[in-house]
Amino acid sequence: MKADKDKCIACKRCFPYCPMGRIQIYQRHDQIPGRVYIEIDQDACTDCGMCLRAKICPVNAIYQPEEPWPREVRGVLSNPMIEFMGSQTPGRGTEEMKTNDVKGTFLPGEVGVGIELGRPGVGAYFRDVETVAMALMKADLGYQLAAENPVTHFMSDKTTGKLREDVLGEKATSAIIEGKCKLERLPEVVKVLQDVAKTLDTVFTVEVITKVPPVGEVPIDPVLKKMGMWYSINSKNNMGLGEPSYKFYDEQ
C-alpha cells in the first residue's frame, strides 16, 4: 500500500487500522511548503489492503499500486480478497479438512500438520517460512507437503523445503505450510517445530488434523496427552454431510 504524498494530510486516521502496527513515518513534502505526509514502510507493509478497505482516509490518498513479482506475493497471501489461483481456494491455505468427508485427504492413521507463520498481527518473512519448511523436510519424518498450498508453490525444491530466492525477502500477514504425516511420527514433527520456534523472530500457530473414527477415542488425543501438549478446547469440526461421501472404511 502507498499513500499519495500530494493528497495525504498526515491526519493519522489510517494508523490504527494496520494489522502490522505502526508502520508509517512522517515526511516533509519537498514541493509544498509546510506540508507533511505519511509514508508507509514498504518493507513492513504486507499489502493486505485493510487501510484501503476501511475507507478511513478523508482525502483518498491511500492506494494499492500494481506490484511486480516478487512483491505481488505479499498481496496474494495477505489480502483476503485475492484468491491464489494455484490452490483454487479463497484464502491463504487449502481446503484441508474442510472437505475431508468427500476427498479423503486425511485417512485413518494420518495426521495433518499445519504451521501458520505471522498470525496474529506480527507478519512473517518468507525466509522465516523457509526456515521452518526446511527444518521439517530435513528431519525426514515423512512429512508430505500439500501440493496445492501457496507456500508449496513458492518452493524451488519441494524435497528440501527450499523457497525461491526472490521471495525470501517478502513479507506476508501470514503464510501457511500445510502437509501430513503418519500419526506415529507426530511427536517427532512437534519436536522439530519446538526447536525451530526458538530461532525465529516471529510467531506461528500449529494445528493438527485427524479423521475421527465411528467409535473409540479421537486417535490424536492420547498422543498429544502423552506428549504433554496443550491443545485447544475449540476445534474445527467436519460434519460429514458432504456428498458423495468418501469411503474411509471397507464396511462403509
Binding site: 487500522y17 505502526r22 480478497m81 474442510k98 468427500v102
Partner: protein, 215 residues
C-alpha cells in the same frame, strides 16, 4: 487452513461462539456447486446468524444478503457465525434432513459441537482440527484480553491498535461499544467476527485498559 481455529478465550466465552462454513470440494463437487452453496446460505440465514459472509464479497455488515447470494459462484466458501447453541442444533436438524451437498464445518468448543450434533440426530464428528497454540516470539503478541478479540478474524485483519483506539474512543464518549464492534465486524470480511461475543469481550476489556495516546 486455520481460518476460525485459533480463536482465543475462556470456555465460557467460546461456548456460544460457532462458525459454520460451507465448502465445495475441488475435483469432487465444486463444479455446479453455486446453487448448493446458495441453498446452504439460505438455510443458515433462516436460523439467525449474528454474521454471515464470503471473504471475496464481504459480510452482512458491509454489504447485503442479496449481494452475497448473487455473487456466489462455483467454489465460493461461505461462513455464518452464530452466538447461540440452540440455533446450531436447529440448523443441524435442518441440514441433516435437507443436505445441500457441500461439506459443512463447524468451529466451536469440541464437546459442545458434538453435543449439538447428537441432539440434532447426527453421529460423531467426521474429522477435526485442533490448535496447538502459538509458538515462537510470543512476546510480540498483544495481551490476552486483546488477543481474544483480534483472533476472531481468521485473516488477522482486526488490528490490535484498532481495539486500543476504540477503547479510548468509548472511554472518551466518542462512540458506543456496539458501534465499535460493528466496525470490527466490517474489517473481518469473511463474516467470522461474532458481534455478540465481541460486545461482551469489549465490556470486559474496558475496566482493565486505559489508553492515553497511541501515536
Amino acid at each position: 487452513m486455520t481460518h476460525s481455529l485459533h480463536r482465543r478465550g475462556t470456555r465460557e466465552s467460546l461456548s456460544n461462539d460457532f462458525i459454520v462454513l460451507g465448502c465445495p470440494a475441488t475435483g469432487v463437487n465444486k463444479k455446479g456447486s453455486a446453487p448448493k452453496t446458495r441453498k446452504f446460505l439460505s438455510i443458515c440465514y433462516k436460523h439467525g446468524p449474528i454474521n454471515l459472509g464470503d471473504m471475496k464479497t464481504g459480510n452482512i455488515y458491509n454489504t447485503t444478503m442479496d449481494d452475497i447470494l448473487s455473487r456466489v459462484t462455483d467454489g465460493t466458501i461461505v461462513e455464518c457465525t452464530f452466538d447461540n447453541r440452540e440455533k446450531i442444533v436447529s440448523l443441524l436438524k435442518e441440514l441433516k434432513e435437507d443436505r445441500p451437498g457441500i461439506s459443512i464445518v463447524i468451529s466451536g468448543v469440541t464437546d459442545v459441537v458434538q453435543q449439538c450434533m447428537t441432539e440434532a440426530g447426527l453421529g460423531r464428528i467426521h474429522s477435526l482440527e485442533y490448535s496447538l497454540g502459538t509458538w515462537g516470539k510470543t512476546e510480540r503478541l498483544p495481551d490476552f484480553e486483546i488477543l481474544q478479540t483480534v483472533t476472531m478474524c481468521g485473516h488477522a485483519m482486526i488490528a490490535s491498535d484498532l481495539v486500543r483506539k476504540m477503547v479510548r474512543d468509548v472511554k472518551r464518549g466518542r462512540r458506543t461499544i456496539e458501534d465499535c464492534c460493528i466496525e470490527m465486524a466490517e474489517c473481518c470480511s469473511c463474516g467470522n467476527y461474532n458481534v455478540t461475543r465481541g460486545i461482551q469481550l469489549f465490556k470486559e476489556l474496558l475496566p482493565i485498559y486505559t489508553v492515553h495516546s497511541l501515536y
